[in-house]
């Protein structure tokens, strides 16, 4: 953790009286007594100092990098005038390496913390200040973050972290490490209690990366944010790999290759405005219901385009996003991880105003099969929804799990099990629509009736079977003639929704254009659903290790 390449030793500046556009406390009449500053004056000075962080020069440098300051970010994220700051007077306690000098003390240290409102709803925020010691994490910095996290847990409100930090405050040594651990512990304790969101807006390296990794959602800003355990210099010295910061841990890498980040935005302003939009989908805590906003889209709207969407040939692809966009309110779908494991689509939308989580196989990519990455992506999303009372709507068109040595050696068995586990464990309302294929084990996995699906529908184009007709016939009639006839018979028997419908494994076969109406009504019914799993200390989800190296 000490090997933080990104930490740039900051020359410490004492800032003069810099004008700030932010509201400070109202100016008080100056009163001097006996040549010494009055308390009132000191309060005022400290407040002013806290507002400008590392000083105008560092602010200009931050702007020069295309980044906003910690306070500017908070101001954009929260409703106007809603931010209530805590700990503006906290200073670091380090006395080594000259850190105790007055000019090395900054009121508030390298993070701004507090609470405020997003569209009127409570949220706790910390925003790391890169202008103060490169946003490095001191004991005091960690303590400030822990304070708001503890309070967020007490009142049940989400925590948003705006990360822009070079890493540990090296001057503080173990105190800084202890600070990280304190935060990690709170991240874990808060997990499943209040939503936690990280927005990476600058460097985030070393041990610091584990805090975002523990939160529910990690977003990044393109070109100006990086996440890595060790920077390019260390990588070069250890593995002799030449890699740039951007390639190693930029937004593109993490949203498309590693799956560490859930989405990336163009710049600070875009990211913060999108975060406001995203926040509106989330319940405030695990004790709050899925939020319902005013909705202008009629809940009984028919979607005629869906009746012809699924191609007649079962080998032809279509875009599951077309299904999702046309069914949800106002075509408004906030997709999570849109560039990673694209064979599954997950994200938030609303049905008649109520937030729902959408999971859908994507026939356009790899036929919508389940593989390691898509299983893990889906599982994580389903577990979030279940933890926070967000109903799950699943659109199924899955030909099965992806075969091959790469997948088997990579542990598709245990990774696929995660998705199965997540759907089975979930007690929120679960509605499933089989649009076309639901083959093999993947049928079971995708929120089937057998895993306590509340309402399971099939479109007329649905085919629920152990496998495709061709493969099935090759096994059943191995070495026999008349394979073509047998195949036709298999298609006739299984390539339709009836085998599942006669057994009650789907509740109804619905006309696709009525799907929106059906789901809206079902959600209304299921709003009072109560289901509990058996008492346990905690469940043992098949976490198991990551996919083997070098096999992509």
């Amino acid at each position: 953790m000490a090997a933080l390449a990104a930490v740039r030793r900051c020359r410490v500046l004492l800032h003069g009286a810099v004008k700030s556009s932010f509201r400070g406390s109202p100016s008080q009449p100056r009163s001097y007594s006996a040549g010494r500053l009055s308390v009132q004056e000191r309060i005022e000075r400290k407040r002013q100092a806290a507002l400008v962080g590392g000083g105008q020069k560092r602010i200009d440098a931050q702007h020069g990098r295309g980044k906003l300051t910690a306070r500017e970010r908070v101001a954009l994220l929260l409703d106007p005038d809603s931010f209530v700051e805590y700990d503006a007077f906290v200073e670091h306690r380090c006395s080594d390496f000259g850190m105790e000098a007055d000019h090395n003390k900054f009121p508030g240290d390298s993070v701004v913390t507090g609470q405020g409102r997003i569209n009127g709803r409570l949220v706790y925020v910390f925003s790391q200040d890169f202008t103060v010691f490169g946003g490095s994490l001191s004991g005091a910095h960690a303590q400030k973050i822990c304070k708001i996290m503890d309070q967020a847990m007490l009142v049940g409100a989400p925590v948003i972290g705006l990360n822009d930090s070079g890493g540990a405050r090296i001057q503080e040594g173990v105190e800084s490490l202890a600070g990280y651990a304190d935060i990690f512990l709170r991240n874990v304790m808060a997990s499943g209690v209040v939503p936690q969101i990280s927005l990476i807006m600058g460097p985030c390296a070393g041990g610091a990366v584990y805090s975002p990794a523990l939160t529910d959602f990690t977003f990044m800003v393109k070109d100006t944010s990086y996440l890595f355990i060790t920077g390019p210099d260390v990588v070069k010295s250890v593995t002799n790999e030449d890699v740039t910061q951007e390639e190693l841990g930029g937004a593109k890498t993490h949203t498309a290759v590693s799956g560490v980040a859930h989405k990336a935005f163009e710049n600070d302003i875009d990211a913060l405005l999108n975060l406001r939009e995203f926040f509106n989908f989330l319940p405030l805590s695990n004790k709050d219901p899925s939020p319902v906003t005013e909705c202008h889209d009629p809940s009984d709207r028919l979607v005629p385009g869906l009746d012809t969407l699924v191609p007649l040939e079962s080998t032809k692809a279509y875009d599951m996003l077309d299904v999702i966009h046309s069914i949800v309110d106002e075509r408004d779908f906030f997709e999570i991880m849109p560039n990673y494991a694209k064979n599954i689509v997950v994200g938030f939308a609303r049905m008649n105003g109520r937030t729902v989580g959408i999971v859908g196989n994507q026939p356009k990519v790899a036929s919508g099969c389940l593989d390691i990455n898509s299983s893990v992506k889906g599982a994580r999303f389903v577990r979030f929804c279940d933890a926070f009372n967000v109903p799950i709507i699943t659109f199924v068109d899955v030909p099965g799990f992806l075969p091959g040595t790469a997948q088997e050696y990579g542990g598709i068995i245990r990774h696929g099990a995660k998705l199965l586990y997540a759907f089975a464990e979930a007690t929120v309302p679960k509605i499933t629509i089989i649009t076309r294929k639901a083959y093999g084990g993947a049928y079971d996995v995708m929120s089937s009736k057998h895993l306590r699906g509340d309402v399971n529908y099939a479109w007329p184009s649905a085919e629920v079977a152990v496998m495709g007709a061709k493969g099935a016939v090759q096994i059943i009639f191995r070495g026999k003639n008349n394979q073509a006839d047998a195949e036709a018979e298999y298609v006739e028997k299984f390539a339709n929704p009836f085998p599942a419908a006669v057994r009650g494994f789907v509740d109804d076969i619905v006309v696709p254009s009525t799907t929106r109406r059906r789901i809206c009504r079902d959600l209304e019914v299921l709003a009072t659903k109560k289901q509990t799993n058996p008492w346990k200390k905690h469940a043992n989800v098949p976490l198991a290790g990551k996919k083997g190296r070098g096999r992509r």
Partner: protein, 714 residues
């Protein structure tokens, strides 16, 4: 004849039309008594008709068949299995795979479909087999009626040289020119000098602008002869050419005729079709602003005499070029139902398809010439899936993710063969629909067209509504000062979309700002949530910064009243009052700006404040930010857009026909790099700069999508 009186039969139809289930299946909705003709169910007609076509025209024909109590058979390619015309028909037969040569032009398969279904007659629509004499012959051989003229008329009028000779003999004005086949370039020059320049050299078998050249001197004549004969040979397998006088700046006006098998013929007035691009019509109207009653009668009578000269029976169209002095010259005769027939139906009250079916069954015409009225004015806009910003329209494809025809308006007729969810594919004509508006006067019809275009919701494909919306409000169009060169003359630099006026700009800015505020207010409305702040004041005013076309404007928005939702917007000292129902789910956005009603469309809106609005047909991109966000946005890094001069992307979906370069070649600016064929059109892709070719990403025969990388330059 009492035009537009609603007959009881029609009333029943209108009632059925209002029924939702019918509406979803029916492509043509009548919002007024469109036809005055009576459907006489005692007149013995065909029991079953096969429609050898697809899309809107197949639906159009079926609609009349249903009214006449005739069963319908659709034919379709496999990709069209779910198409509207298939759903509308009583029976449907698949005649082959997607390419037209294997399905809709596949005579064997269509003949089989006729036998299989027992159809007694075939309506060919337009295009495909509609003017194919071979097809008409084969039908005749099997005793199936062809709903169109007989083989002889198709043949006679299908050949430009022969038709001209017949026209001349029938005393129809023809363009001065050489009536025979031109042997060689020398003869071409000699003839050109006889006629006088400019001259037009064109293929005898041609059509659609192919094999056509204009020459202004001897040298161009020689060159034109060479090119035209090559093109004619490759396009039509027939290199015969003819030469005639070129009428500069003409109008294209055509006369609709109707003739029966008993020697009766009528002319149903004219259609003005001068607004064209690449010889394809875009906006048509009936009647023409240009014709006086004498010219109209003269043209009508000549058209009828031509029809009689070839014993024509069925509906047909005689096309004329009309010069500025109202001299008119015969161009050609189309022996089929025209695309633009609805405008004639609107002003005459006749159902042309019904008349064609009656004639084919052998009934005499029901009307006399004196009974053919011109009632009101009708305008037709051809709504295409194409990008009007590229040479007035390059085809685009896609799925109609949202589609809503402006049928809530009166006096609007939409002929279409698609619905929400339909695919516009590369295989067929990219026409979405024919939008027809009608009014007692031209001004009324044009105003209606403005409203109809503003209310037409098309999402998922690029469409030409921006261009249509601009044409119909252009002063030259409104004054009737048009010719076939209208588009290149009015937009010499190419079509650039609506140019905002100062007032228009303010309206647009105010609407965007108000929409932003409406969305912000709605975002705070959580229902039944006790945890939403009570101490936070509801906002009543906003300071916003709106970006439009690189201009940045500061706007103040304030909300008045508690329950009402009227926003007062201040822009540069001007005040606008904006009211609307602010339905954020509707694709249409109806606002009242200082008392003026406008229908805009919100195409997209995102969290970052970007809003796309369709205003007066054209899409404008705006960005609305709070004052704070706008002030801070100066710090945001400028993202460098991709250098497009070294990258060649396909401007449309299509097939690569030829690639003229390979990696390592040096190309000059403007040099052809490859040729993309889309919708039967070949488009030459050229280099944007002189450079070396780095890599080639396409090969002949490959299908490419819009925006696909073709070639990279260094």
């Amino acid at each position: 004849m009492a035009a537009y009186r609603i007959s009881p039969a029609l009333q029943r139809v209108l009632h059925a039309v209002k029924h939702a289930a019918f509406r979803s299946r029916c492509c043509i909705i009548v919002s007024r008594a469109q036809y005055s003709t009576v459907y006489d169910h005692n007149e013995k007609t065909f029991d079953k008709i096969l429609i050898a076509n697809r899309g809107e025209i197949a639906c159009r024909v079926m609609k009349t068949c249903k009214k006449m109590g005739i069963k319908t058979v659709a034919v379709h390619s496999d990709v069209d299995a779910n198409a509207v015309h298939v759903k509308m028909a009583d029976e449907a037969v698949c005649v082959g795979p997607a390419p037209t040569s294997k399905s809709y032009l596949n005579m064997d398969a269509i003949m089989n479909a006729i036998r299989q279904t027992g159809a007694q007659a075939v309506h060919p629509g337009y295009g495909f087999l509609s003017e194919n004499k071979e097809f008409a012959k084969r039908l005749a051989a099997e005793g199936v009626s062809f709903i169109g003229p007989d083989t002889h008329a198709i043949q006679a009028m299908g050949d430009k040289i022969e038709s001209k000779l017949i026209a001349k003999a029938a005393k129809v004005n023809t363009i001065p020119g050489f009536d025979g086949v031109v042997k060689d370039a020398d003869e071409a020059v000699r003839i050109a000098n006889e006629i006088g320049y400019p001259v037009m050299i064109k293929a005898s078998a041609g059509g659609g602008g192919k094999g056509m050249r204009i020459a202004w001197n001897d040298e161009e004549t020689r060159e034109g002869f060479r090119f035209s004969s090559q093109e004619a040979a490759s396009s039509f397998g027939d290199d015969r050419l003819l030469i005639e006088k070129f009428i500069d700046n003409p109008r294209h006006i055509e006369i609709q005729v109707l003739a029966d098998k008993h020697g009766n013929a009528l002319w149903l007035n004219e259609r003005e079709c001068s607004i064209q691009r690449r010889n394809q019509k875009v906006v048509e109207e009936a009647p023409s602003t240009f014709l006086d009653p004498e010219t109209r009668r003269a043209m009508g009578e000549q058209a009828v005499s031509l029809a009689k000269a070839v014993n024509y029976s069925s509906a047909g169209t005689v096309e004329f070029l009309v010069d500025s002095r109202k001299n008119f010259y015969f161009l050609e005769m189309n022996t089929r139902l025209q695309v633009e027939h609805p405008i004639t139906e609107c002003i005459t009250g006749l159902d042309l398809v019904q008349q064609m079916i009656r004639i084919a069954k052998g009934f005499p015409l029901q009307h006399t010439q004196a009974e053919i009225p011109i009632n009101g004015w009708a305008i037709e806009s051809r709504v295409y899936a194409e990008d009007p910003y590229k040479s007035f329209g390059l085809p685009s494809i896609g799925r109609l993710s949202q589609y809503q025809e402006p049928l809530n308006l009166h006096n609007v007729r939409v002929d279409s063969g698609i619905e929400e969810g339909s695919d516009i594919s590369i295989y067929y004509d990219p026409m979405i629909s024919k939008l027809v508006t009608y009014g007692a006067t031209r001004a009324e019809a044009l105003k209606k067209m403005e409203d109809a275009l503003d209310n037409y919701v098309i999402r998922g494909v690029t469409h030409n509504i921006p261009l249509l919306r601009e044409i119909i409000v252009h002063p030259r169009f409104i004054s009737g000062d048009i010719s076939t060169k209208f588009l290149p003359e009015v937009y010499p630099e190419g079509f650039k979309g609506h140019q905002l006026t100062a007032t228009g700009r303010k309206e647009l800015l105010a609407t965007a700002a108000s929409l932003f505020v409406a969305a912000q207010l709605r975002a705070q409305k959580f229902l039944g949530d006790l945890r939403v702040s009570n101490t936070q004041q509801e906002r009543r005013s906003w300071e916003l910064c709106v970006e439009l076309e690189k201009g940045v404007h500061m706007l103040g928005v304030s909300r008045s009243g508690f329950m009402t939702f009227i926003l007062k917007v201040e822009i540069d000292g001007d005040k606008l009052e904006v009211s609307s129902d602010w339905n954020l789910a509707s694709p249409l956005l109806t606002v009242t700006l200082n008392g003026i009603h406008r229908t805009l469309q919100c195409l997209s809106r995102n969290a970052a404040g970007e809003i796309s609005l369709q205003y007066l047909g054209t899409t404008f991109k705006l960005r609305v930010l709070s004052k704070l966000a706008a002030a801070l946005s100066v710090h945001m890094p400028e993202k460098v857009p991709e250098d497009t001069s070294s990258i060649l992307r396909s401007p449309m979906p299509g097939t690569v026909v030829a690639v003229s370069v390979k990696a390592g070649d040096t190309v000059a600016e403007g040099q052809e790099i490859c040729v993309i064929e889309a919708m039967k059109m070949q488009n030459s892709m050229t280099a944007a700069k002189t450079a070396k070719v780095r890599s080639v990403h396409c090969k002949p025969g490959e299908t490419v999508g819009e925006g696909d990388l073709l070639v990279e330059l260094e």
